[in-house]
Subunit: 412 residues, 2 copies
């Protein structure tokens, strides 16, 4: 029996051959995400991995359905496994925002699912760090989010040589569009072409722009000008005050495909250009209103960072620590008559909050000692008598004799 | 737009009225689960929340399908959201056990899904702590698991007055069955009736037992004898050596419904009898063999503890701590001319690994101070000049002046 294609098992380290995803690496990534989010005073939340299909249609239109893990449940409901977290958090905020003091700063680390036609090695699920601020439309909140994004990446020891945040503005693009075209109904199509401009042949994008009354050259000129709008200058100054200028640059190539962005948008990129975007986000001031059916209105901004590109990048830069199990004490049971006393000792060590291991069956001393070394134990402990323990520091190889009840304290 | 019935949102504390599930409580539960598992030298793993439907059919037969969130994916595969973790871990072990030194001690904290006909308030998902040992069939490994179960519950400050592990043995039941009936094909039906004996009217169970050639009285006598089998005595002695006797008793009423158990089985119960089982588990030596199609054979035992009954129990016993956000420092920006310097200070505090908050927009001093109190900040910091900070301990109300670069260290 095999796992489904596009899904991952997370095995404990050391990883078996043929397995790429480690539970310990995932734990490490999650730990950094959470730790830095809390430094920024964000609070954790979560929602269901299954939501009404309508929640995604409301936000992204019918065309999204082709990429979803959607199905009809046994109660006849149209449901979908969540492809992203923003609709869920917008739903939660729309329902309960009145209860919370503003601004609301929330983060989550959900697993997300997309049924994309399977390309070689392409995953159908990933984990994602999400951070959002609700109830504040000042560019200072965009800057706060971008600073968090930078500090999360720095917490993995990535530097300004490794990544850069490409900063842009949906509003600046909207202004450019309005100046050159009076038919607002064409704006979405226009933004979609801009979104693909770096991946499209110039002839193709030029042709597509022409259909909307633009020329590629004219669009390029706007991008190349790189002139920060007032709002973007504000964000840049804010980040500069924090000493984070080196991590960010204006780049109007970025526009973000999703329909719901309304202001500052950004993506984090590998400086070496090897990987897809590491993270992306922006301001989406209309979404809570949309999801609440007009009942609630709250400015919002946020970003998301997936685990897959991040881990690829960290591996590429050799920045993933090596993980191994770590045991405080391995209790050697050399005399089976002392097994019960040894179990008492194991319990004592664990009660003290330390990690302890031992052999559950009779085993030769040297085998037990080998196991202690394999587990990276810091100490071995063996009983010389029911109440007399020999504690050995495996680094210094120094061995000390003491009464059983003193052992746990000695191991700290 | 509302969440699906039977699913939970996890909101940050303080909880809004009408919401019962807090992200902070979940974090607390998970933290205890993981911490105690590691003390026992268990390693974390995870698998996909979506698996091939056949994985569950192989283990539990066609009748399980009625309770699953199963569907046909867009590639025509019969899939199911995971209803339990054991089939997944058995699949992972069957695939990769050769790589790992025995015994293998693994834990996980998956979210699980069942499409049960909706009863009032009944959930369709929950989180579950799973702990399993593979590659060891000595009763010492059953005892190790039960000790872990006890210590996990004790880590929530539950005592021997709050819960008890009811210990039984599928093997002892098998021996009783074989002594009284020669037709092994009836054993599964017999165990199913025993499993329901406490919830069934005596007339009904007596009638059902009679169809298999047993009398209720005869079954009751076996239960009431409460005589530990050799294997159970071994487990009891082991737990006694650890000082955990008070938490466990022999109770043959427990047999565990699932087909795959083969030896020691147990359930943790509220001593006050208010709740469903808090946890349950046992030995299942055939499952890896079954899931691997006979290619791999490995003794196995494990237990699972859900989050829902556990949280209900902790609430009942008033053992859930109160959670509130905790901020190390709130930076007051009383003069907007000092905003940039204040941002530099915020960054410095966060870089130091501490949690810092501030107002992203200009705000009156007293409003900022009130917010600092609401967030439970330990200190406020305000700049008197670009490089001169006033640090106030909100407990002692003592205020100290210092150069900006000394602030972070002062907050520890």
């Amino acid at each position: 029996m095999e796992r489904l294609p596009g899904f991952r098992d997370f095995f404990p380290e050391p990883l078996p051959k043929g397995e790429a995803w480690s539970a310990d690496v995932r734990e490490y990534i999650f730990d950094r995400w959470k730790t830095v989010a809390r430094r920024y005073a964000f609070q954790g939340y979560d929602g269901p991995p299954l939501e009404p299909l309508d929640l995604y249609k409301a936000k992204s239109g019918e065309e999204i359905v082709g990429q979803l893990y959607n199905f009809t449940d046994k109660g006849g409901r149209e449901v979908s496994m969540r492809p992203e977290m923003t609709p869920t958090v917008a739903r939660m905020i729309a329902a309960r925002e009145r209860h919370y003091k503003k601004p609301i700063k929330w983060y989550s680390t959900p697993q997300l699912f997309r049924y994309e036609r399977q390309q070689k090695g392409r995953l159908r699920e990933h984990f994602q760090f999400n951070a959002d601020i609700f109830g504040e439309d000042d560019p200072g909140s965009d800057a706060e989010l971008i600073a968090l994004l930078i500090d999360v990446l720095r917490s993995f020891d990535l530097s300004a040589e490794d990544f850069v945040i490409r900063l842009s503005s949906r509003q600046a693009w909207q202004d450019f569009f309005t100046k050159n075209c009076s038919d607002q109904s064409l704006a979405h199509d226009f933004f979609q072409i801009v979104d693909k401009i770096e991946r499209m042949a110039p002839e193709d994008s030029d042709q597509k722009f022409k259909l909307l009354g633009f020329r590629l050259e004219q669009v390029r000129d706007f991008i190349d000008s790189g002139k920060p709008s007032e709002e973007l200058q504000n964000v840049l100054d804010n980040l500069s005050a924090r000493g984070l200028s080196d991590y960010v640059k204006i780049d109007y190539n970025v526009i973000r495909g999703l329909a719901y962005y309304t202001g500052v948008v950004y993506e984090a990129f590998d400086r070496h250009g090897k990987f897809r975007a590491i993270a992306g986000g922006g301001r989406y001031d209309q979404l809570v209103n949309l999801v609440s059916g007009g009942k609630n209105d709250l400015p919002a901004a946020g970003f998301a960072m997936g685990d897959v590109v991040l881990v690829e990048l960290l591996k590429d830069r050799k920045l993933l620590p090596e993980f191994s199990q770590s045991i405080d004490a391995y209790v050697l049971i050399e005399d089976e008559d002392l097994r019960n006393d040894s179990l008492r000792l194991v319990q004592q060590i664990r009660d003290f909050g330390l990690n302890a291991e031992y052999s559950m069956v009779a085993q030769k001393s040297d085998k037990q000692f080998k196991k202690a070394l394999e587990l990276g134990a810091l100490f071995t402990v063996r009983l010389a008598a029911p109440d007399q323990a020999m504690v050995k520091n495996l680094k210094s190889r120094e061995e000390t004799s003491m009464p059983l009840k003193q052992v746990a304290e000695h191991l700290v």
